[in-house]
């Protein structure tokens, strides 16, 4: 009952709801810090080819590994390559995988969930059974299998990670669609003769945008983590390209003598994951006040 009233109010004042949500988000300090840090990293990653202090491959074998200094802010690795430059280029790959693979997951998950929820009945049962069955599969293992078989291309990594991360999104969207599809505006749309696709894309998806945004923000860190995990094992991004995961893996090899080679990429990865998680939590509190009541 309470939920219904809230739902009706949301419909009447769609714009003010998002304004209201943004106001709530601004009050959440951790989420705002997360957002700023994230924007900072994204801007740096985008500008890397122009602002990187050294060239990406530039080796200086005589220099070898050095501690952080004024010339090389984060030190150099065993081949004398500038660590800051490598972390910056690594960010490009890690963030790109994070955003693109999440977009793939988003697309599949939202369409799957909305279709199942809206059509209902037997179609819904079959579609969600498939999701249940897929949930039981060992996904990390499957991605490793995929990379072994089809080689380690970046495109494959996007597809493979995206293809396994959509399940929860589908469940969330379906649940939301089930609750709103009984409301009058959907019945009105049906009685006006709109096609299912029009109803799903124009009426249902916009109304479940809140949970979609929240869950997307929380999917990005798990995707970044998955890619780093594979690259750490040597099964993801291959040299000469590097991501945070492969930089960390390189750092581990020489951490006894040169701990900064492990610490800096690890720090950047952890800070990014922190920011995304805080932002996601903040968005959930802002967009879905009911979920955060406790």
């Amino acid at each position: 009952m309470h939920q219904e009233i809230a739902g009706i109010q949301n419909l009447e004042q769609g714009v003010s709801l998002s304004q209201d949500a943004f106001r709530r988000l601004k009050k959440n300090k951790m989420a705002m810090i997360g957002l700023l840090v994230l924007l900072f990293f994204i801007v740096i990653a985008l500008l890397t080819p122009w602002i990187a202090p050294y060239s990406y491959e530039g080796q200086n074998l005589e220099l070898g590994a050095t501690s952080p200094s004024l010339k090389n802010w984060l030190g150099t690795d065993t081949l004398g390559r500038d660590q800051l430059t490598r972390v910056m280029y690594g960010s490009r790959i890690s963030l790109a995988v994070g955003f693109i693979a999440t977009a793939v997951a988003l697309l599949i998950g939202v369409l799957w969930g909305a279709t199942a929820g809206f059509l209902g009945g037997r179609v819904d049962a079959i579609m969600m059974r498939i999701v249940d069955a897929l949930y039981a599969l060992p996904f990390t293992i499957f991605i490793i299998l995929l990379t072994v078989i089809f080689g380690n291309s970046l495109i494959l990594l996007f597809m493979a990670i995206g293809a396994v991360e959509w399940l929860t999104m589908a469940r969330i969207v379906r649940g939301q669609v089930l609750t709103i599809k009984k409301q009058e505006f959907v019945e009105a749309a049906v009685s006006m003769g709109l096609s299912p696709w029009q109803i799903i894309s124009r009426h249902l998806i916009p109304n479940v945008l809140g949970p979609i945004i929240v869950y997307t923000t929380l999917t990005i860190p798990s995707v970044i983590l998955l890619e780093s995990f594979l690259s750490f094992l040597g099964l993801g991004i291959q040299p000469p390209q590097s991501s945070w995961g492969s930089l960390i893996s390189g750092g581990v090899e020489s951490m006894e003598e040169y701990p900064w080679l492990l610490i800096f990429p690890g720090l950047v990865l952890s800070i990014t994951l922190f920011s995304l998680n805080f932002l996601g939590d903040g968005l959930r509190d802002a967009l879905d006040p009911r979920a955060s009541k406790d």
């Binding site: 293992i141 490793i144 995929l146 780093s228 995990f229």
Partner: protein, 311 residues
């Protein structure tokens, strides 16, 4: 209840069959045969190898004989180490992996539950913030960063604990178990806090409080049973992550476990080993999901009635 268990077991069979089929056909669709790495092999030898591993038979025939052998519990020979079967390698690697996952789970559940319950007792106070921000730290520090850091600090700098191995030096199981369990402890802390908060606001808890029961009694006797349900439903699927996480931890700490064998098999393109391990892992995951479902139903009388009476 029994009907429910039987139904869930029957539902698992198609899942396992699907995993087997997908794995099998993916591996066989791989470009480049398993022996393409050895360059100077005479064609007769390749032919013999193909015969030995039945690679010259039609695909479907290979699949059925593979499934037939699986049902007998035979995963076939390893491609890379002809003297070993995949069974040998699984038997050799699984005990360490299982033990590691077991200790990690114990660590995660203990630390996670304690932190979650403590936080839930006084929400939005310092008693809530400290465990919950530590949990956030645990979630955001991936095992492949946490592990090397722990190794660096406790193994190399302080020299308190051994840096590698499994069961050879006392204390060498501590760091790997903590590394693997840390992020699960963090998730469990968050989930159990949420679960406890929901239970603690229920009427029967208020009644218990009104009766003047102590906080400890309310938590342990009344609230925990309901509060840990979400933790149990998390644990089943978490086992999948735990097994995958063991790849990294076993690599970092040089533990001779199944995860490390799997990663090596992936590098070596040891096809039968990859196939066998994938199916074995899938089997484990299905079993643990089943267990967590059964425990959930068993803990929740309302659910028990539903599955018992509904069919």
């Amino acid at each position: 209840m029994y009907l429910f268990i039987i139904r869930r077991i029957l539902q698992s069979i198609p899942v396992l069959l699907l995993v087997t089929a997908v794995t099998f056909f993916m591996v066989h669709a791989a470009p480049g045969g398993p022996f393409s790495q050895e360059r100077n092999v005479p064609p007769e030898v390749i032919k013999r190898l193909n015969q030995r591993y039945h690679l010259d038979e039609p695909m479907w025939q290979q699949f059925f004989s593979y499934v037939g052998n699986l049902l007998k519990g035979d995963f076939g020979p390893s491609f890379k180490y002809p003297s070993h079967t995949v069974n040998d390698l699984i038997v050799a690697g699984f005990p360490a992996t299982f033990e590691l996952a077991f200790y990690a789970t114990i660590f995660a559940v203990l630390i996670g539950l304690i932190a979650g319950v403590i936080a839930s007792l006084k929400p939005n106070t310092i008693q809530d913030y400290i465990p919950m921000s530590s949990a956030m730290l645990g979630i955001c520090l991936p095992s492949f960063v946490l592990g090397p850091l722990l190794l660096l600090v406790f193994g190399i700098w302080l020299q308190w604990l051994p840096v590698a191995g499994w069961g050879q030096i006392p204390g060498d199981k501590i760091l790997p178990s903590i590394t693997l369990g840390a992020s699960y402890a963090a998730y469990i802390a968050r989930i159990s806090r949420g679960g406890m908060l929901e239970v603690l606001s229920q009427d029967y808890i208020r009644t218990a409080r009104a009766k003047g029961l102590s906080t400890a009694r309310i938590v342990f006797v009344h609230a925990l049973r309901g509060g840990i349900t979400p933790v149990i439903s998390f644990l089943g699927p978490a086992i999948a992550g735990l097994l995958a996480g063991s790849f990294v931890v076993e690599t970092i700490f040089q533990i001779p476990g199944l995860g490390r064998f799997y990663v090596q098999a992936a590098f070596n393109r040891d096809y039968t080993m990859i196939m066998g391990c994938t199916i074995f892992f899938a089997f484990l995951i299905v079993v643990f999901n089943l267990l967590s479902d059964v425990i959930l139903v068993w803990l929740n009388p309302r659910l028990r009635q539903q599955v018992g009476g509904g069919h």
